[in-house]
Subunit: 464 residues, 2 copies
């Protein structure tokens, strides 16, 4: 047995029960779907009755909780929630928005986004949600290979960012020993801790894990002879990218590299429901009976896509009461695999993690508008040219959407007007939102060839 | 009622039970001393039998646990432990020293000193000690005015430093809501949180609390109209200095300022047993049935001093199993007051907190040597001049102590040799350690008039 094998997740699994909660983790999928459906219906009723943000959102879309009788109904009928909506709601109803869902006195924690672009988004977590999250987070850590006799070095910042706190609490609940160095300890010292303290598990972003490994080599610190057996990475996509995984393992003493949190976000933490295992070789299991994850069409979050088809990630808290996310649109692209995993867990997976950011959805007068949907309508309308722009402006209290499109050939004013009217009619039908259309001469816009930037959002400039 | 009164500790006490654990906090002192004595004897037996560091230390001093039949015996007979001894022991027995006291698998947490001058000192806390510390830390927070419906903003760094972690866990155990901003959130944002999120309690160092208050004034943030009612300060002496207390209160919306941790240290955390109340007006209660604090002669930690007499602070964990501190010499100067406090707690107090650092004790071949004791012997020996130096060197494996002293008047070689022999004899008698003496001509040393620096410790230079 090599040193790396001795410290591996496989060895850990041979010496402990394989699952943290075998009943949940190996449940027959059809039975699990019944539980998910029941919880989905419970949550829809809860948020409609107790969370003003959702009541308004659902009323604006003409949706009622009782419309959902199946998981397909859930996907097809429930409007998604976006980050932009949450930010706007917190600005209107400070500090927690109108989606807190509980009394302030019930909160155990207040965390926040980094707020690099101004006011941080605040996350409020109630005491019961905080307690409940320990179970699923322990399941996730167990899948990653963490065991109660491990020393876990957490190199995430401990401040507003929620991620590290959830991990810390989960390690404590599991009975592991935590060395919470955070982000304030210099890298050279963190490297020495890995070797000298007898750290079994490192938690870091992929880029910091690589940095630690490279620095260990420069300092001549022998990680091959260390106890380090597992490297859990989160916060960036690298944990599911084969080349990055291999570099991390090589630089960090041959440790198993496990992805955590791909397809999740601070809105969904501290519930860690997305985690790899030693068999997934990158990618994550989706602990669907905690947070229910759907993959949907990239331009229509109410259109399910089949396993194997790339789409957008949408996630739902099945149990959370404080700031519950119901069909939260993450803006991440992923693909579902529901084939059995060798680990024995019956959860489906995101085998490639998440691998792209989808166009940010636009929120226009409460409705979600996808630039890709506008793109499709423009392309299908006869007489339009190759370039167009989507302009969003605020007029008074209202957001206005205008599409400026080149005609295919020079047009007389009357024909241009006719093309504009036709495109406007088609867009209204597709988006359920009124769109102004302006037809421009061919060549009015610079041609976009790579990572096209056709959305001009002028709302952000107002008041800034 | 003014806004500040509405948010005050007095108001909080009127709306909740006054004590977190009335039985412990209002116990008759004589009854409490019985408990302390029983625990002291328990701990002495425990460390002598299970903790190699203490066994060696006590054997070297000829001390046996059964020698202690009273608290006076405890003070007079048990040799103290110093920071330097702990550092040396960890260097010899990495990573936790030979005083861990528990199996590594029992640890819940590993924390450390900042390690600014090299390798950090590691603190290991077992799961049962971590759990036990919640009770006394809740008692401390309650005395400071924290209640379960409060939002507590903790502006301590969350990394190796243990202090903030203990507070965080105590707030959670109390049921308060924590906003753990740490030290990574910019000051302006921290000021806005105080006002916008509805923070009831701020925890920070005195200097950072002042900085936040000044910045609030510069930004025009109204803290008088905020919910901030209590400012808990720790980590520096300012919380018991009247002028600093007043500035903090004025700058922070008239909040009550409570000192925490004066006379404690990272070796004693996460057990928060030193805390003010709204009546102490600075200073701290000593929760003696958790950590037993003694005030002793500045130059002799085995010599008790009466309440009202300034002395050195020595503290003992009565319940901790992992890295227990038994008569730990903090190097801080304080004075004890055992008069009743208006709050009703029967614990004695350090009414001025701690207000000075005592000469660092020297550790010479396992024995504690006080520069002030050497000073006394030199002054009392006829024929010595006004200046001298204490030189500590390592020769091979051993520390050697040499006193270089001026003679009062120029001496012939034979008389100088006689003076040296006499001084050496007196020092050996006083210190129980052999001391080399070298007699120098008058005027050999620069005169020391303020904060005399007469100790030259050359051991630190070896190998660096």
């Amino acid at each position: 047995m090599t040193a790396a094998e001795r410290r591996s997740v496989a060895r850990r699994e041979s010496e402990h029960p394989r699952f943290f909660n075998a009943e949940r983790e190996t449940m027959e999928p059809a039975r699990r779907e019944e539980i998910v459906l029941a919880r989905v219906r419970h949550q829809l009723t809860y948020v409609y009755e107790h969370v003003p943000f959702y009541r308004r959102h659902y009323d604006a879309h003409g949706f009622k909780p009782q419309d959902v009788a199946s998981l397909e109904d859930f996907t097809r009928k429930v409007p998604v929630v976006t980050k932009k909506q949450l930010v706007a709601d917190q600005a209107e109803h400070p500090p927690f928005g109108s989606y807190l869902g509980v009394e302030r006195s019930e909160l155990a924690r207040i965390q926040g986004s980094s707020g690099t672009s101004g006011r941080p988004t605040l996350y409020g977590i109630s005491t019961d949600d905080w307690q409940r999250s320990h179970e699923v987070s322990c399941m996730a850590l167990w899948s990653a290979g963490v065991r109660p006799d491990d020393v876990v070095q957490i190199s995430f910042p401990f401040s507003l960012f929620l991620g590290g706190w959830g991990l810390l609490q989960a390690c404590e609940a599991l009975g592991a020993c935590v060395l919470p160095v955070g982000s304030l300890v210099p890298t050279d010292q963190q490297v020495r801790f890995l070797a000298d303290v007898g750290v079994d598990v490192l938690v870091a972003t992929p880029s910091y894990a690589l940095h630690l490994g490279r620095r260990a080599a420069e300092l001549g610190v022998d990680l091959d002879g260390s106890q380090l057996g597992v490297v859990i990475v989160a916060g960036e996509p690298g944990g599911s990218v084969p080349a990055i995984r291999q570099s991390m393992s090589e630089l960090l003493g041959g440790a198993d590299v496990i992805d955590l949190g791909a397809g999740s976000s601070s809105e969904l933490y501290p519930f860690y429901a997305n985690v790899g295992c030693r068999h997934t070789d990158g990618g994550v299991h989706l602990i669907q009976d905690e947070n229910f994850t759907e993959i949907v069409a990239k331009d229509d979050p109410n259109e399910p896509v089949a396993p194997g088809t790339s789409g957008g990630v949408v996630a739902t808290h099945l149990w959370r009461r404080s700031q519950p996310m119901i069909r939260f649109w993450l803006g991440d692209e992923g693909v579902l695999d529901d084939a059995p995993c060798a680990c024995g867990r019956t959860y489906p997976r995101l085998p490639k993690g998440v691998y792209g950011r989808l166009d940010d959805m636009l929120l226009i007068r409460g409705a979600n508008v996808y630039p890709s949907a506008i793109d499709a309508v423009v392309r299908e309308t006869p007489g339009t040219g190759p370039e167009y722009r989507i302009v969003v402006e605020r007029r008074g209290e209202l957001d206005e959407l205008r599409v400026e499109v080149e005609s295919e050939a020079p047009l007389a004013a009357e024909d241009a007007s006719g093309l504009g009217a036709e495109l406007g009619r088609r867009l209204k039908e597709a988006l359920s939102v009124r769109v102004d259309v302006a037809v421009k001469e061919p060549g009015s816009f610079e041609t976009q060839v790579f990572k096209a930037r056709r959305v001009v959002d002028r709302r952000a400039a107002v008041g800034s």
